[in-house]
């Protein structure tokens, strides 16, 4: 597909990388020549220098003939203008990054007026994810499917825990709820396990479970349930605002530490119920004074990754039950994963995932499109939700009969709002939504791709990674 991306910043670059890897023809527009140079040398894309909202530049990038325009510059107004121009030029789908909270409310009718196919707000999305994590602090991450009815949650196995050394089939007896382990991360590698898989301490497991049974799952697995009643947020960024709104709404008390006095005033005005502290978040004295020892959770949301990491490590050191770290540079995940930083959110990654899902859905012509897409285990595993339609094969056959491609697992089937954690005797019926877990070296765009007799989807990388067998 032909895609034009305006804005080669954090989100833009990450998107470009992801989408070009999936084989799309991409033109990147930016007004900074240096970042364009960087992109053209590391990614197989074409670049156009200039203001993305100008007609001349859009013509140069051939927007008239493209399928999708994504405006991801740092300015909301520019992004919207880009999309308007693009709509005038051709009939491309348009996605705009709009993140100003003041615009957020009017987005619904703005979308119509501006002809936007999708608006993305990375900060809002990041706040949403963080909030979900704070709801159930035992989980390192939560990804929801089937309109929130099903979730894949990430758990880490502590030493001497109930599950250490158990076979997966045992787990299902212990858990007492209907769950399925769909992926395991061990020493930086991803496994898609079967019933005989034996768990070890320090494994990170990804469990599929119906959302309403998460509480009992935690109880049966003997995980300490610790409800978050007080959250300390370091850094008063936009995410902090969105997050605080939600937390306050859920009755959690929020304390925000922000360095800039003016921002503190703004926050105090917008969030009357939150405690706003003017002080340096990286300053140990300030943290101790504000009671980091006593708080239930710490969320680090400053603009500096380094500061976030250091404060998170310190919070872990002090034994804060739940620490969430915002990190922009996700390249270095492998370094800090072992340092106790395992609950990480990255706005650009969340955004990229949202858009990749949209693009895959656009590409899909048969209608059995990707409803939801989540990447697990450092992007090594993908969990995709499809809807089974008339073109889907093997409808009505039991799963035991259907042969799937290697490295694929059906994690969940939802039928008329009812969640089925599948066994060999279950079937896929028309209009079911199916969550499929797979190692992400192939591009699955259609439910039929997963069947052994289905079409072979394109390789994502052009090479085989030796880490994946």
């Amino acid at each position: 597909m032909k895609i034009v991306i305006v804005g080669d910043g954090k989100v833009g670059y990450n998107l470009t990388k992801q989408l070009s890897k999936e084989g799309h023809d991409i033109v990147v527009i930016d007004s900074n020549k240096d970042v364009l140079q960087e992109s053209v040398e590391t990614l197989d894309v074409m670049v156009v220098h200039g203001n993305g909202a100008s007609l001349k530049v859009q013509k140069q990038a051939n927007v008239a003939n493209c399928d999708l325009l994504i405006a991801a510059t740092s300015a909301d107004e520019l992004n919207m203008l880009c999309c308007i121009v693009a709509r005038k030029l051709g009939d491309a789908h348009t996605i705009a990054r709009v993140r100003n909270p003041e615009y957020a409310e009017q987005l619904i009718f703005l979308k119509e007026e501006l002809g936007l196919s999708l608006t993305i707000n990375p900060e809002l999305a990041a706040a949403r994810e963080t909030f979900k994590l704070l709801q159930f602090p035992s989980f390192l991450r939560r990804d929801s499917f089937a309109k929130g009815k099903v979730e894949i949650v990430e758990l880490i196995l502590r030493e001497g825990g109930l599950l250490d050394g158990q076979k997966l089939s045992e787990l299902y007896k212990i858990a007492k709820v209907n769950v399925l382990v769909c992926a395991v991360e061990r020493e930086g590698k991803a496994y898609i396990p079967d019933g005989n898989f034996r768990l070890q301490k320090k494994d990170k497991i990804y469990v599929t479970a119906p959302s309403n049974e998460l509480t009992s799952l935690i109880k049966h697995l003997g995980l300490v349930t610790h409800k978050v009643r007080e959250v300390m947020i370091i850094g008063g960024s936009r995410i902090a605002y969105y997050l605080a709104m939600r937390l306050i709404g859920a009755g959690v008390s929020v304390k925000i530490i922000e360095q800039k006095r003016e921002r503190c005033l703004e926050l105090a005005e917008m969030l009357p119920k939150a405690t706003i502290i003017h002080g340096a978040g990286a300053n140990q004295e300030v943290l101790l004074e504000e009671g980091i020892r006593e708080t239930d959770a710490v969320v680090t949301l400053t603009d500096m990754d380094e500061e976030n990491l250091i404060v998170s490590m310190y919070a872990n050191h002090l034994g804060v039950p739940k620490v969430v770290t915002k990190i922009n540079r996700t390249e270095y995940t492998e370094v800090f994963r072992d340092k106790g930083i395992d609950c990480v959110i990255s706005p650009k990654q969340i955004t990229a995932n949202d858009i990749v899902r949209y693009v895959r859905a656009m590409q899909n012509t048969s209608g059995g499109s990707v409803l939801t897409l989540h990447r697990l285990v450092d992007d090594m595993v993908e969990a995709l939700e499809f809807r089974a339609n008339a073109t889907t094969r093997h409808l009505g056959e039991t799963l035991a009969q259907i042969q799937l491609k290697k490295g694929i697992l059906i994690a969940c089937i939802t039928r008329y709002g009812q969640v089925i954690i599948p066994k060999g005797s279950d079937t896929i019926e028309l209009n079911d939504t199916v969550v499929v877990v797979t190692t992400s070296d192939r591009l699955y765009k259609d439910l039929n791709d997963i069947f052994l007799d289905g079409p072979v989807p394109a390789n994502t990388y052009g090479t085989t990674d030796p880490n994946r067998s």
């Binding site: 070009s20 890897k21 084989g23 991409i26 020549k33 053209v40 040398e41 197989d44 894309v45 052009g462």
Partner: protein, 492 residues
């Protein structure tokens, strides 16, 4: 350095070369030229054997950087030339390896300088191969590789290869995907070559001649199949060749713009205008200047002037007449055209029209700044500001261009030919033209020079075709140092 990737790409190139030698082998077989068959057969086996070794070097990491790109391109061209010379050498058609190498490099670099005293005495299979090297070298073998080989998807590394191989101060993509860009370039190239072949065939040229001459024109090389280049072809055939030479000297992105119907961009393209302007002006002046030689027949004079101007300017080097005998003004114009060369992004050589334009514009801005030091001005080309890096690159390029020229001139002067011959010999090789003046005039050849001089000129051709920098990086020791010796250190 990503040595494994280097080995991997080299292996591919050798296999491609083996494949491309098959038509030569077939022609040699059909003509019953046993020596040539032997030469091709042994070379193809050697190519396959050596390329098989590269199977042991599967690249672990397909990503590579600018310096790897430069080194890969330079080495590929050297290795390709050495293997390409083998059929000539093994078949004993060219008994000395230095000569065979000179001839092959001259082919791949689209120079067209020859050491053969009699072209017609060569076996046809080898003549075909000689002309085909022009065609492959014209657009570049790595660009061909990029068109057929799926590199790591989504990675921009391949741009480094194209940048190092394609001529011009700024190399960009035509399409978002490198592979598509390479395919577009080769598609335009193939179609234009085929059209020329067809036209030549229709004009009554024998099939073998039209194929070889088209290859020579497309790559702007200049190897013919007759001893006296294009003298014996008809007026019409010469004109077809002349027009196609001019066409192949145009930046190929112009053709892509035409395909996209962006006519205004083509019309106002500064390089294209300058290029065509120079061709027309030079043709008119030479036509007027050589009028007496053609007995006052302006049509004839103009015809030969046009052929020669397009042949020299695009750095092809075909000849319809011995321009060595022309008046000084015309000869000097031709030498100037040799240096200017064709357009960037074409198959021609020389310093390129766009580079010349940038040099002049930059010089003008510098002078203006001397007069008015506070003035802020930028160099523009096609209504776009040219980056400092590009201008800097052009200046450095010119410095090295002159340096290499002077050093080569000094070395080959030891052979004691006239200054005119030596200067034009160096210029002709460095700019990938072929013929020069004096002892290396269009009806002469380079066989007079000593082996040392031939090697120097061979290097000049490679320097000229790859635009200096890739070859230069090979001489940097830091390139060859292993990036890290960590493995060994930790074992101690």
């Amino acid at each position: 350095m990503n040595y494994r990737m280097l080995a991997y790409i080299l292996g591919y190139i050798l296999r491609i070369q083996a494949l491309f030698m098959l038509p030569g082998l077939a022609i040699a077989l059909a003509c019953g030229e046993l020596d040539a068959v032997h030469g091709f057969f042994v070379t193809i086996l050697l190519l396959l054997a050596v390329s098989a070794v590269s199977f042991f070097f599967k690249p672990r990491e397909r990503h590579f950087y600018a310096r790897d790109g430069l080194v890969i391109v330079a080495l590929v061209w050297i290795v390709m030339s050495v293997f390409g010379a083998l059929p000539f050498f093994i078949s004993r058609a060219i008994p000395h390896f230095v000569d065979a190498l000179f001839e092959t490099v001259s082919g791949f670099t689209t120079t067209g300088a020859s050491i053969l005293t009699s072209v017609e005495a060569m076996p046809r299979g080898l003549l075909y191969w000689r002309s085909f090297t022009h065609w492959l070298g014209g657009m570049g073998v790595l660009v061909f590789l990029l068109a057929i080989l799926p590199m790591a998807q989504g990675s921009g590394s391949s741009l480094h290869l194209m940048r190092a191989e394609s001529p011009g101060p700024e190399v960009g993509k035509l399409a978002p995907k490198m592979r598509k860009t390479a395919v577009i370039l080769y598609a335009i190239y193939c179609v234009m070559t085929l059209v020329q072949m067809l036209l030549l065939l229709l004009s009554g040229m024998p099939l073998f001649d039209s194929v070889c001459i088209s290859f020579g024109t497309a790559g702007t090389g200049g190897f013919g199949v007759l001893n006296d280049s294009c003298v014996r072809y008809t007026f019409l055939q010469q004109n077809i060749i002349a027009v196609f030479m001019v066409l192949f000297g145009v930046n190929f992105s112009i053709y892509y713009m035409l395909l996209l119907r962006e006519f205004s961009r083509v019309l106002f393209n500064e390089e294209l205008r300058a290029y065509l302007g120079i061709v027309i002006a030079a043709t008119l002046v030479i036509g007027w200047n050589t009028l007496p030689l053609f007995g006052g027949n302006f049509g004839d004079a103009l015809h030969h002037a046009f052929f020669q101007v397009s042949s020299i300017m695009t750095t092809s080097g075909f000849a319809t007449t011995d321009f060595n005998l022309w008046p000084e003004l015309s000869r000097t114009i031709l030498v100037v055209l040799m240096v200017i060369g064709a357009s960037a992004g074409s198959t021609g050589g020389g310093i390129k029209v766009s580079r010349g334009l940038l040099l002049i514009k930059n010089a003008r801005q510098t002078i203006r700044r001397m007069i008015n030091p506070r003035e802020v001005n930028l160099v523009r080309m096609d209504q776009e500001t040219v980056g400092e890096d590009t201008l800097h690159g052009v200046n450095v390029y010119m410095t090295f261009y002159c340096l290499i020229g002077v050093v080569s001139l000094l070395i080959i002067s030891k052979d004691n030919f006239s200054l005119e011959s030596n200067i034009t010999a160096v210029l002709s090789c460095l700019n990938n033209i072929g013929p020069g003046l004096g002892a290396v005039g269009p009806m002469e050849n380079f066989s007079l020079y000593s082996n040392l001089s031939k090697l120097v000129l061979t290097m000049d051709m490679l320097f000229g075709r790859l635009e200096i920098f890739p070859m230069l990086t090979l001489l940097l020791p830091s390139i060859w140092r292993r990036a890290s010796q960590r493995g060994k250190v930790s074992m101690v």
